[in-house]
Symmetry: C2
Subunit: 421 residues, 2 copies
């Protein structure tokens, strides 16, 4: 019989509405296998918790608290934007991880994140092998950007997609009903620095000809000011108003971000961020139309109240599968979502080799974007639509979603040696 | 028995998540009294529909379509930002209204809006009396700003309140979990040009000490940069992060809007709107902390998906009561929400004299804001909390809220004379 060993779980990068559902899947599944998995430790603030030997003992949390993770957004143990350098550049960091894992008899490493963390997970696996330390490293996919390869979609994306499509539909109704005497052009800025998946999801709101949004601006399509202005003008002329979804990563043909268009405050200080006001300002300047703009920012990725039931189920499933794969002896892999059919939507969990996942960014295929570059195609709709299906409302108390806060009890240190990040 | 006459309903000003629930209340109630109320006409684009004799025949809509108004945000017949001038300045406009009403035998005028429309409603009532035209004018309260007097709260506000409190709680969880290595300060801008009610509602999210939001910036409290920066610094030092809710109408002591702080684009053009980026920029400049900001804009007032059940019920109730008051012979009045108790929350519908409603703006009482000016008091919480109670999710189809679009069939013109606005 295999030796019983402890496990380590950490959250990485930008959090989502459902990354805790993955944590829930990992923890609940580990608890069902106490013969093989001893303690499940979580990293406080992600991988920093391992580097600093600041581990959280998840066994101190009640079954109810762990179950509540399924409906709680954000990272319950803290996440980190901390990219480990390459093995060559900073081998000490990787060795430190192994040292901490060794001190706490950690045999399973579950790393819940996007592309960078897949790469880290792979390197930890490789180094532990080279150092002769037995460790199974499993990556749990997560990213609102939906840019991981192999997996059909990424947990976290479906809920953002549902949020932005719902929000732009609602704002579209609002603007349409006021357009005669008020705002004619509305701009909603959504996330997506390099890939336009979230912007594309806005497009799901327009199910019939003429419905908002009318224009989508993708990072994959270089921004052409004249074509854009002409499109806005034609839309307002036809429909009376125009609703636009724009990616934060919108760029001009020479690779400049629109959001860095050089806004300055009265003192001449650069004003960072916000492509929506830049686009709105352009509309005002060129067409003299009344506009409004919104920037959803963190609201979109934290909006657990309007999460996709499909997304929640998949987030939980990849967490569960990660533990099951580890127990079956897998190493350096990632559970991946496999689409079996779109109509009706059927999916299962497969296994992806981490070497094929790390450092590959999946952008929108060109045939998911209309020829004119301003909207999504039917093919894109067929891909996206299943991902926002179903509602999974959290419980409410006092009129507000009731989210859980864990105790996050620290594990006594065994090394006690400080580590400088 | 009273003579059977037609009725006219119009939506005015900024739309809300529940103004259509009031329309639903008006129409469903009128349909129950066909012995007294003939046709119920709606103004296309609000009062413009009356001035231009562009009336909509609501009898062409099915019972199911009218029922669906209860869960559809925006203004189903179109609303207008159009303030009628004073009787002295433009008597012709009021006379035109009476002329159109007369042509279509309209004996009931239901006007669904905020302070300005209450004033218009009152003037129409007065003029019809002076002109000897029998008309009962009833105002149906609506405004996300919650600034109407007499009524305990305004339909539309409770749902925005629920949206902003939910959103800032979710964003707060997000920021807290990432603060160690990422964003330390998050700013959410909400509506409220003159009154801080919506900003106050953000405060409902912090039910326990230390929970987000940590700082609220009200239009009622002049912005003091040094005190604000000190507060942010102390909060980040204590909690590790700081979440701020700010009113779009935030002003300095000399009455200048922060949002007009003089942002300019690269060409020197003034950049309108957005107090959140101004506040965030200040934090960056003075404290060198990583920040993010969001501007909810129309998303907040259109967010029917997270509407307050209490708000929906009240919006419907004032619509219903308006028709019932008319049938009882009232004129120049407004149904008002009367709070009978806060714990448990009990309310009923009373009657307010329009002369006491028009042109009075209800700001936040000073004792609803903490002494330091940065948060809400327990008294404010007791007032606000009941207004966000209960969920009233719309039906969903294809993963998105299913909102109704009416046919909006035009009534044949009887005058046909053009009217220049």
């Amino acid at each position: 019989m295999a030796k019983k060993r402890n496990a380590f779980y950490a959250q990485s990068g930008g959090v989502t509405a459902v990354i805790n559902a993955s944590a829930c899947g990992v923890i609940e599944t580990a608890r069902k296998h106490k013969d093989r998995i001893g303690k499940l430790y979580a990293g406080r603030n992600g991988i920093l918790g391992a580097l600093e030997e600041d581990l959280i003992d998840t066994s101190k949390e009640s079954a109810a608290a762990i179950a509540a993770l399924r409906h709680t957004p954000s990272g319950a143990f803290g996440s980190a934007r901390y990219k480990l350098k390459s093995l060559e550049a900073n081998r000490a960091e990787y060795e430190r991880l192994i040292e901490v894992f060794k001190a706490h008899d950690i045999g399973y490493f579950f790393y819940n994140g996007g592309g960078d963390s897949a790469d880290t997970c792979l390197k930890v696996s490789q180094l532990s092998g080279a150092m002769g330390y037995p460790l199974q490293a499993i990556h749990v996919p997560k990213t609102v950007d939906n840019d991981l390869p192999i997996t059909d979609c990424c947990p976290g994306f479906g809920s953002v997609a549902k949020y932005v499509a719902t929000s732009i539909r609602e704002a579209g109704f609002d603007v349409e009903s006021m357009a005669r005497t008020s705002t004619k052009v509305f701009v909603l800025e959504v996330m997506g620095r390099h890939a336009g998946w979230i912007t594309a999801a806005c497009g799901l709101a327009s199910e019939a000809e003429g419905e908002a949004p009318h224009i989508l601006l993708f990072p994959e399509i270089p921004f052409d000011q004249d074509r854009f202005i002409a499109k806005v003008e034609a839309t307002v002329k036809r429909a009376g108003y125009c609703v636009i979804g724009v990616s934060e990563g919108l760029q001009t043909a020479d690779g400049k971000f629109l959001s860095d268009a050089g806004l300055r405050d009265a003192f001449g200080h650069a004003q960072l961020g916000g492509v929506a006001p830049v686009i709105a300002n352009l509309v005002r300047e060129k067409l003299k139309l009344k506009y409004h703009w919104a920037v959803a920012d963190y609201l979109q990725r934290a909006a657990r109240h309007i999460a996709s039931k499909t997304d929640v189920a998949q987030a939980y499933a990849v967490g569960k599968a990660a533990v099951e794969l580890a127990l079956k002896g897998h190493n350096a892999v990632m559970p991946a979502i496999v689409r079996k059919s779109s109509k009706p939507y059927k999916w299962s969990i497969g296994v992806a080799d981490l070497a094929k996942v790390a450092n590959v960014e999946k952008k929108m295929p060109r045939d998911f974007i209309t020829t004119d570059g301003f909207h999504i195609t039917a093919k894109c709709r067929t891909y996206l639509s299943p991902l926002i299906q179903g509602e999974d409302f959290p419980p409410f108390r006092n009129g507000l979603p009731r989210y859980v806060r864990l105790k996050n009890v620290a594990v006594p240190k065994k090394l006690g040696t400080p580590f400088k990040l």
